[in-house]
Structure formats: C-alpha cells, structure tokens
C-alpha cells in the first residue's frame, strides 16, 4: 500500500520581495568578494584566563572596531586581517579587553586568555553586545546579584524581565515570547533539546545557574542553524570546568542548596565540572510529620523535592581536536507513604515523579584556520510517572497473617536521539558561512496505565490490566546553510533551513527562510530588519498555562498539521558614549496551525484519542518594544517596555471569531537596577508591571430554550454568558523585589550573604478566581500566591 506523502511548505510566491532581493545580492556578492589579496587569517580560541573556559560570543575587533567577529559556542573565531601591522582587540563582558598589535605575514593562530575584572561593574544581563536586536544574552554568574524567589536565582525568570518575553502566571518559568505559547520555544542545553524546563509545577526552572556559562535567547532574527519551534530559541551552554585548579562553590538557601566542584583532570588538557542542587522541603517537613504521627498514632511520610545534577568532562586531544561529554539529569518527586491499622493493616506508597535526562558527546575539530566543525550525538528524555501501591494485611482466624496488594502505574514521556553536524567556514572578510545537518529519531510515549491486583489466598482472582497507548515513532531531518555577510556598514545574515518530518507514512516538509539585516548609520546608530520563517512538528498537549508534568508532547499526524509562523521585525539601536543603549523594535508575527483544546475539552478527556479533543487555528501577534540600558558604572540596569497585541482565531472556538490570546498583555514593563556601593556591598531591585491576563469569565446567567430549561418538571439548566473568549482582564500585575549582597573575602575563599524580599510591598496579584457562597450570597474572590516573601542565602566560593 503506498504511503501518504504530504508536502507542506512555504510557497515562494508568499515570500516577501525583500528576502529575494537580499538573496540575489548575496549571490552576486559572494563571488565578487572572493578575490582578496594582502589579507591573512587570524584564528584561535578566546578563553577565560582564570579557569581556561572558552568564551562564547566574545568580540574580536580589527583596528577601527567596525570589522568584528564573535566567537562561536566553543570559543573559536576566525577573522581576516590586513597583512602587516594590525591591531586586534578581544573583549568580553566582565573581562579586561586585550588589544594586540601584530605584524602579520601569514595565517596566524592566536589563542587569547582574557582576565576577569572583579572591579568592573557591568550590567547583569545584556541585550546584545553587538547591538543586534532580537537577541538577549545573560551572564549566569551575575544572576545572584538579582532578587529571586526564596533565594533561588533563575535564568528563565531573568529573561522574563526583557521586552517581548513574558511570564505566564505568577512565579512561573514559562516563556511567552511575542505572543507565542510556552511550547513554541526551542530550549537547548549544550545543544540538546530539553522537553520540560520546569520544577515544582513551573515555579523554578531546571537550570542551575552555577553550572552554566552562557545563555542566549533569540526572539527574532533566528539564525538558520536553529529550527523546530515557532517563537524563540534559548541556547544554554554548560561550563566546561576549570582546567587550571580545583575550585568550588557552595550555596545554602531557604529551600535548596547547591554544590559545584570543578577542576583539571589533566592540567590545561582536561577538566571536569560537577554540580548538584537539591531542595529540602521534605527534610524540613519530616519533624512536623513526626510530631503529627506521634500524636495521631499514624505512620505517614510525605514530601516533595527536586534535584539537578550536571556533569561535564572535556578533553583537548590536541590543538585541533576537543572532546566534550556532558550530562544532565533532573528529578521532581512528590510522595505520600502511610501505614494505618484498623481491623487490618493498610500500607500505601504513592508517588509522582518526573524529570529530564540529557547527554551529549561532542567533537570539535579545527580543519584549518577557516574551517571549524562541531559534531555531536545526543540523547534527551522526559518522563512522567505516577505510582500507587497498596498492601492490605489481615489476620487469619486460624492464626498468622496474609496480605493482598494492588499497584497502579501511569507513565508518559518523550525520548529523542539525534546526530548533529555543523561547520563554520570563514570564507573571507565578508562571508562567514555556517552549514550543517541533523537527524533526530523520536519515541513518544503518549500514556500507559498498568494495574495489578494480587490476592494471596486465591491466585485465580489476581488481576493484571494494561491500558497502553502504543508508542509513537517519528523521524526528523534538518539541513541548513547561513551566511553572515559583513559589507562594512551593512551586516547581513541570510540563511535557509529545510526540515522534514516523517510519522506513520505521512511526510511533512518545510522551507524556512531567514534574513536579518543591520545597517550602521554611524558608529552608534544602527537599523535592523529581519524576516523569520519557522515550522514546528511537535506539540505540547496541555490546557494548563504550562508547567504541569502531565503536559504531553505529541507529533504532527495525518490530521494534525505542522504549525508554521512568519515574523517581520524592524528596529533601531542607539548607543551613547558606550554606556547607554536605547533600542526600539517593532514586530509582526503570523502563526498557522496552532493547537488548542476544543471548547469543553480538557486533559482528562484526551486519554483515548487526543486528536479528537484538539483543534487548529491561526494566531497573530504584533507590538513595539523599547529597551534602555545603562551598562557601566556603580549603577547599572535596564528598563524594558512592551506594547503588544496577541490574537487567536479557531473555527471551533468562540464561534470562529477572533479572540485575545490568554497572555495578550497590552503593557509590560520591567525596571532592573543594581547598585554597587563598594567591593563588599551591592544592592539589586526589580520592579515589574503587566496588564492582567485575559480570562473567560461568565458575567451573566440566563435561561435556555425550554427543552433545556425544564426537564421532568424542574429547572434543569441555566446558561452562563461569557461574552467574547478571554474578554475579561484580570487586575494588573506588579511587584517590587529587592536584595542586598554582603561579600567578604575569607582566608580560603569568598563568602556572600544575600538577603532579599520578593514582592516587597505585598501586592496581592491575582492567581486564580473562584466563586464562594456565604450566607446564601455568591461572591467572586481572587487568590494570590506570593505575599511579601523574605529570604536569605549563604554562598561560599573556594
């Protein structure tokens, strides 16, 4: 039987004229610039002098500062410089800039080690060091200088302060980028996709900042090397480990502690970093439960914890070859175990656990001063599991005991194994080509239930039932090429990504064009334009606002089509005295084949055939983002403001009428400040404001047709009037967080006490609404999650 082949693609006629023109320019330009002379290639790695870590996105400048390149994710750079006496500068946020004057006659290898500058007070997080709009970079080591929830610094929450990036619900780690959903973000940890980034139902993210070296979030201008998700790419690189000396970092917080150890396995050649974090709510609860058990005569153990373990090994085989092995595992576990005795003894063991596992083996190879390659094979897994086991022990009338038991197990998840090869080819001073391909094999476990009952006395009564949704297998192939073109004042990044997805004989394919253009009017003013086409083949089936462990990843099917999006952006950036930066960016995004639950459906109705419970439709998002940043000095910080609209339109929802997206937030503002009094004391503050989320709230009730109103002579049903879907706006969200860090140099290290308050002025932000009836009168109430919450943490770096 022939297999169905579905071809789904961006039509060329739908592409705007701008990218076609730019592509044509690129083709002409590529060949016109090949002829070069009196130039030599300077290449190498940029490293942190203190620990030998290679630095991602460090800037390498030639003389006039205009001609520059960034180091790639592995610290490698290659730049074409004029032969003869040439000045090259190397800079990175938080490090002293190194300027070299070289006499160049031939291609030269220059490995540079930058020295951290402890006294240099630079911004905690930065838009982009090169004035590129649409990209946010964060320096994880600086995050502890920002306020946090209960002392747990969080990468994702720091990103939520940026214009265009929103948090969903209070305290959640979901990312809502420019009107997109939380499932539209590609999250890469050392190049491996991570499928669930949440701990504790989304209140914390899985990323332990101590183990992370760099974080980049692309909201637009997404380079062609990334694909698979509609709204953003979050690229997180784990630290490599100190290859000079053994170092450690220990943090004791209110709810969690962290330990990081790193050091050389073979000096300057090989290093390891191990980092672990665990919460101890369960340990803190133990004495309370013990008292309760003692007074009530029960034996109950209950608790919740989450943990993360990061491990990375790297080995420099020689100057051209480098191997990395990195590993991450995270787990959330909630449990209640109890034992009680009446006429019989019942012992229950109940637990719910979920977590990620990622591992990757990477090989970096420098073919020449112009060609660098990275190949990796990786494995990523997310699984969720519920276990319930109960044993009933009874006494025999004739003496002795016997016991019956039953157990229930429910699990679901996703596994993927992939190969990815990427090359950086620095063709000449104008073109930096990147190209590669990848293959990914997916195994989805949509959900399976095992039930087993054992009757000791009579094995014929034993029951074993399995409800298994068969595993779903799928394959994805990707192929891309991109070119960073540097034409003095005009910088272009042009690329294309081909993706194909095969599932049960249905093959979907997409061509995803990417064009980003930056024009420098002067040294401090530039204009950015971009066009990004994206496609997404896996969907998160969820009707929560993101963060529940039961959320299920499932692939496109014959009936559920791939989601696609197109985004246009235009922006301007102005830099004043290298200290202040202003940027203004507008975006317009359309999305097709978005997935939503049908009206009346929920997670609990999707256990048999999830395709029947979902529907596909369109989305539109547009807005304006303003960003002001102060980068240097005792006071640093930024202000971000977003004016945005986000809409959805589904044939089966809201009578087919357009409605605001749940997180359509008209105004979103953040003020982030950090003041450094001296070496020992620094103060941080964050104020956020956002228009309330949109919800569907009934405001009136009314009578239906008589056939529904009366049944069996009684009033049976009253209808509720909701108006338009998501037409009710919750009250605005705002809060102020502050913290102070007290730093002291000790004999063998540095200790830091951090004190802070989350939601300082105790704003009662709405988390959920509900109706309560008191004295026969119904009233509507809101519940807030976090009042003013003080916290502290203790950190020791040795």
């Amino acid at each position: 039987m022939p297999k169905t082949t579905r071809m789904h693609h961006f039509k060329l006629s739908n592409m705007p004229k701008l990218p076609i023109l730019v592509l044509a320019t690129f083709a002409i330009n590529l060949f016109s610039t090949i002829s070069f002379s009196q130039k030599v290639v300077v290449s190498g790695f940029v490293e942190d002098k203190s620990n030998g870590e290679r630095l991602t996105n460090a800037v390498v400048y030639l003389g006039d500062n205009r001609n520059h390149v960034l180091t790639n994710n592995y610290g490698f750079y290659s730049i074409l410089a004029p032969a003869g006496q040439t000045e090259i500068s190397y800079s990175y946020v938080g490090f002293n800039t190194v300027a070299l004057s070289l006499k160049l006659h031939k291609d030269t290898l220059v490995n540079i080690r930058l020295e951290p500058n402890a006294t240099l007070s630079e911004v905690l997080v930065t838009g982009s060091k090169t004035g590129k709009l649409g990209k946010i970079e964060i320096i994880p080591s600086k995050l502890k200088e920002m306020p946090s929830i209960m002392g747990e610094t969080d990468l994702i929450k720091a990103l939520q302060y940026y214009p265009g990036v929103q948090s969903g619900m209070e305290g959640r780690s979901g990312l809502y980028v420019r009107g997109g959903g939380p499932d539209q973000n590609l999250v890469l940890l050392d190049g491996v996709p991570v499928y669930n980034v949440n701990h504790l139902f989304g209140f914390f993210s899985i990323f332990n900042p101590v183990a992370i070296s760099s974080v980049s979030l692309y909201k637009s201008d997404i380079p062609a090397r990334y694909s698979g998700y509609l709204s953003s790419v979050l690229d997180i690189q784990m630290k490599e480990g100190n290859n000079k000396e053994w170092k450690g970092d220990f943090t004791l917080g209110l709810i969690a502690s962290k330990l990081t150890i790193e050091g050389p396995l073979k000096k300057e050649k090989s290093s390891v970093i191990f980092s672990a974090r665990r919460t101890y709510l369960d340990i803190l609860m133990a004495p309370i439960l013990a008292i309760s058990n003692k007074t009530q005569g029960t034996e109950t153990m209950a608790g919740y914890y989450f943990q993360d373990i990061n491990l990375k090994l790297n080995y420099r085989l020689d100057a051209k070859n480098h191997l990395y092995l990195s590993f991450y595992t995270g787990l959330d576990k909630a449990y209640i175990n109890d034992k009680y005795t009446l006429q019989q003894t019942i012992r229950d063991i109940n637990n719910l656990k979920w977590g990620n596992l990622t591992s990757v083996l990477r090989w970096n190879h420098v073919f020449s001063s112009k060609l660098f390659s990275n190949t990796h094979v990786s494995y990523s897994q997310y699984k969720y599991q519920t276990n319930i086991h109960s044993t009933v022990t009874m006494k025999r009338p004739t003496g002795g005991e016997y016991s019956d038991s039953y157990s229930y197990r429910n699990f679901s998840g996703i596994n993927s194994i992939s190969q990815n090869t990427r090359a950086d080819f620095y063709l000449n001073s104008v073109h930096h080509l990147q190209f590669g391909f990848s293959n990914t094999y997916f195994v989805f476990t949509p959900g399976s239930i095992n039930y087993e009952e054992k009757i000791v006395n009579d094995s014929t009564l034993n029951t074993k039932v399995e409800y298994v949704n068969a595993n779903v297998y799928a394959y994805k192939a990707n192929l891309y090429v991109e070119d960073q073109i540097d034409l003095d004042k005009l910088k272009l990044n042009i690329g294309a990504h081909y993706s194909g997805f095969l599932h049960k004989g249905t093959y979907y394919q997409n061509f995803e064009p990417r064009v980003a253009m930056k024009y420098l009017f002067s040294d401090n003013v530039n204009v950015n334009l971009s066009y990004t086409g994206s496609a997404q083949y896996i969907h998160l089936v969820s009707n929560s606002s993101g963060g529940l462990p039961t959320d299920l990843w499932l692939p496109v099917t014959e009936n559920v089509k791939p989601a696609t999006s197109v985004q246009y952006t235009a922006g301007i950036s102005y830099e004043m005295k290298k200290n202040y930066r202003f940027s203004l960016e507008a975006y317009y995004k359309t999305m097709d084949n978005l997935l939503e639950y049908k009206e009346g459906a929920s997670y609990f109705t999707t256990t048999d055939n999830w395709e029947n419970s979902v529907t596909q439709g369109k989305g539109t998002a547009y807005g304006l983002e303003l960003f002001v940043e102060k980068k240097l000095g005792k006071f640093t910080g930024f202000a971000g403001y977003t004016l945005a609209w986000a809409w959805r339109k589904f044939e089966d929802i809201n009578m087919g009428r357009e409605f605001p997206y749940k997180f359509d937030r008209r105004h979103d503002m953040s003020l982030v400040g950090h003041y450094r009094f001296n070496e020992r004391i620094n103060l941080g503050a964050v104020w956020v404001y956002g228009t309330g989320n949109s919800i569907t709230l009934p405001t009136q009730r009314y009578t239906p047709l008589e056939e529904f109103y009366y049944k069996y002579g009684q009033v049976a049903d009253i209808l509720e009037y909701y108006g338009n879907k998501n037409s009710y706006k919750l009250p605005a969200y705002h809060r102020l967080d502050v913290n102070i860090n007290l730093i002291k140099q000790k004999m063998k290290g540095i200790r830091t006490w951090s004190f802070g308050v989350y939601n300082l002025y105790n704003r009662q932000n709405p988390y959920l609404l509900y109706v309560k009836e008191m004295n026969g009168q119904k009233k509507l109430y809101q519940r807030s999650l976090f009042p003013a919450v003080p916290y502290f943490s203790y950190n020791y770096k040795f």
């Binding site: 009206e599 009314y702 009578t703 509720e720 108006g723 119904k778 519940r783 807030s784 919450v789």
Partner: protein, 305 residues
C-alpha cells in the same frame, strides 16, 4: 555563630508567618440595571404558531429567580414585512396568530421600552427520508433486538443540518408520559460506531431513568455526505412495546444547529475550557431558530414465526 543562628531562625519564623497570611480578596463585578440583557428564546416550525419567551439576564452571582419580561412588545416579520404583534400569555410567553411557512425568512423585534433585540431565521426545507429498513437481531437466547436503518436523501449544493430521534407513540406526547416519548438504547458506543464518520454533535444522549439505558438523539450536519443518500443505522433499540417506531427527522436552521452544538459542548469539568453558547439575538441573548419536520414509521415484527 550565635548571630548567624538567630538570623536563620528569625528569617524562618518571618517566612512562615508571612506565608500563612490569607491572600484571598473579594472582586467586585460591576453589574448594574443597564447591563441586563433581553433573553429571547424561540424555535419556530411550520406546524405550530410562533411562540417566544422573553426574560432578563442576571448577574452571574445573583441568587434570585429568573425574571420574565411581561411587558414586552414583540413584532413578527415575514420576508421583511411586519405581519403580527404577539400576544402575551403570561410568564414571559408570547404567541402569534401565524404559523410560519417553509423557506420564508422570519424576524422578530423584541422591545421592553428600554432595550430592543432583533433576530432572523429561515424555515428550512423538509428533509427527505429515502427509505427505512428494519434490522432486528437476535441473541443466543432468542431475544430480539430491534434495529432500524434510516436513509436520508440530502439536497446537493446547500448546507443542511439534521436532528434525528425515535418515539414509540404517534402525535403529541402528553407531559409526564416519559416512556411514551422516549426510545432507549442499551449501548451508545455501538450506535456511535455504526453511524460512522458522521459530522455529528455526537449521540445527543440524555440519561434515562434506568441505568445504562440512554435516549437516542443524533444532531448532525451533511458535511460528510452533501448531496448523497446517507444511511444511519441504529441498533439494540429497547422497549419497542408497540412494535412501531416513529422516526422524527428535523431539518434545522444553521442557528439552531450552532446553538445545540454549543449546548452539547458545555463543559462539566473544572479544568475544561469554557464554552460560549451560540446566540443570534442582536442586542440580546438566546436563540431565534427554526426547524422543519418529517415523521415516518416502521413496524417491527419481532418474532414473525
């Protein structure tokens, strides 16, 4: 060290005190007299006089009984011309002297002096039953399970909406004669399977008095069989006491279908996405819709030998 311990203990006490605070707050919904909307409910068909019921909507949290509008002026329009003003019957009910006619467009204008609501609908064509077939099956014990296949001849080139149900008595059923009005099926899943990929709202099932016995009612569109003959097979029909089944096939106006669709999808779970109930009333709520009906019957000779 002592200071450190004190700091930790104090911080913990403060934290737990603050967390134990109540974070509940009442939200006021601003709902005034002017926010009340006219609720107009009426389904018309050629067999009956036009009847309309009018009430006011209430604030969602109100605990008072429904307030019917007894002073409304209701005008009835046929193809754009006013043909009648409806008479008040009491309890918000109004009646016209006219019976609507097939394929004509009817409109109503309801006014309470402050608000004016309007709506239109067309009386659809009567449906065509191509044929009926009795499909009785027998179990191992020899008990009969009557079944019936109904073939609907759909008109091409237009959207049609149907509602199908069975009765055991001809004509109007008296109030309270519940069993006379209803035909039960033992297993709704079997019916689902046999109706095939019908673009149906689903088995529009109302749970009956007896456990596991469900009233059969199908509401569906012709999306999957436009312009063709569609067979619908119902099996394991129970309590065919008189051996005669009356098949009622309604053609619905699109408004009626959308209304029934949204009522059917009304969620009953806390986590479900809420459903807005369809309304075609301008400046009001409710429904003004139409249907047309054809009734046929089939005799089940359960044990011919």
């Amino acid at each position: 060290m002592k200071t450190t311990n004190k700091t930790i203990i104090l911080s913990l006490i403060i934290m737990f005190c603050v967390l134990s605070q109540s974070c509940e707050k009442e939200i006021k919904l601003n709902f005034g007299e002017e926010d009340k909307m006219l609720v107009v409910n009426s389904v018309i068909c050629p067999d009956s006089l036009v009847k309309v019921r009018v009430s006011y909507s209430q604030q969602i949290l109100a605990n008072e009984p429904v307030f019917f509008v007894n002073n409304a002026q209701i005008r009835l329009f046929e193809d754009g011309t006013c043909i009648d003003t409806l008479a008040w019957l009491g309890q918000g009910k109004y009646v016209s002297r006219h019976k609507p006619q097939t394929n004509k467009v009817y409109g109503i204008e309801v006014s309470d002096g402050k608000r004016k609501a309007t709506a239109n609908c067309r009386i659809p064509d009567v449906a065509s039953i191509a044929w009926l077939k009795s499909d009785t099956t027998y179990d191992q014990m020899g008990f009969a399970y009557p079944g019936v296949t109904i073939a609907i001849s759909d008109k091409p080139g237009q959207k049609d909406f149907y509602r199908l149900f069975l009765k055991r008595k001809a004509g109007k059923i008296e109030p309270g004669d519940y069993f006379g009005n209803t035909v039960f099926a033992y297993n709704d899943e079997a019916i689902n399977a046999q109706t095939g990929p019908l673009d149906a709202i689903g088995n529009y099932i109302e749970y009956g008095t007896y456990r596991n016995y469900n009233k059969i009612e199908l509401v569906f569109s012709d999306k999957s069989f436009n312009g063709t003959i569609r067979e619908i097979k119902l099996s394991e029909i129970r309590m065919v006491i008189n051996k005669t089944l009356f098949i009622h096939l309604h053609t619905l106006s699109e408004e009626y279908y959308k209304y029934l669709y949204s009522i059917k999808n009304k969620p009953d779970e806390f986590f479900s996405e809420p459903v807005g109930i369809y309304s075609n009333i301008e400046n009001g709520l409710g429904i003004f819709a139409a249907y047309n009906e054809v009734v046929d019957s089939i005799f089940h000779d359960l044990y011919p030998n």
